[in-house]
Amino acid sequence: MRNKSILFAFAALVLASSNAAAAERSVTLSVPGMNCPSCPFFVSKVLKKVTGVKTVKTSLKNRTAVVVFDDAKTDAAALTKATGSVGYKSTVSQ
């Protein structure tokens, strides 16, 4: 009986810890080169292709891209690398 509850507690801990790692994060990328009518389209498309990215919202006016992603699957470095791959250097602004 006691072993069962230990096992149960252990299982719950494992589940809880793996869920804690898979958190949704939002990051704002500053993309200074995104200054033309088509530019946000390319940035948005390439970011959406990154595994783990959930939503992308670009602002031509502010030259930013707000990305919501699963931080267990990807990270900000992968996002800036993605934008760089289509010729738009980006940096994390917040």
Partner: protein, 132 residues
């Protein structure tokens, strides 16, 4: 009747040269005007992607210059190619044959279409690009 030289009228061969240069300039400038926005989009939708996209779109601020140069070349080219020659070409000479002007006209009008497309794209982009 004696053989006439290839172009009886030096003014019309000069006009041909100018309209020809205008046509080439118009085409190059029109392609330049397209290269910042329409061209990357077209290639991207065909699956071609790469860092060159950002390099091309970086030309966007210069697009008005491309369009202006294209418009100038088109204007000069069309004026010269449609202008009635001062001396009518003699029927059997080269300058009387429509072929000499047809290619120039085709290139000039093609440039007109390309420039209009390049210019219109700036206004149509929000409507034709898919929503994010």
């Amino acid at each position: 009747m004696t053989d006439l030289p290839a172009t009886a009228d030096p003014a019309s061969s000069e006009a041909e040269k100018i309209s020809g240069i205008g046509a080439i300039g118009a085409l190059i400038a029109a392609i330049g005007a397209l290269s910042c926005c329409v061209l990357p989009l077209a290639l991207f939708s065909l699956g071609v992607s790469g860092a060159w996209i950002g390099t091309l779109t970086a030309l966007s601020p210069y697009q008005p210059y491309f369009i202006a140069i294209a418009a100038l070349c088109i204007g000069v080219g069309l004026w010269r190619v449609y202008r009635k020659p001062a001396v009518e070409c003699a029927p059997d000479t080269y300058c009387a044959q429509p072929k000499s002007k047809r290619l120039v006209k085709v290139v000039l009008w093609l440039s007109v279409v390309l420039v209009i497309a390049a210019f219109a794209y700036n206004y149509l982009a929000p409507y034709i690009l898919p929503n994010e």
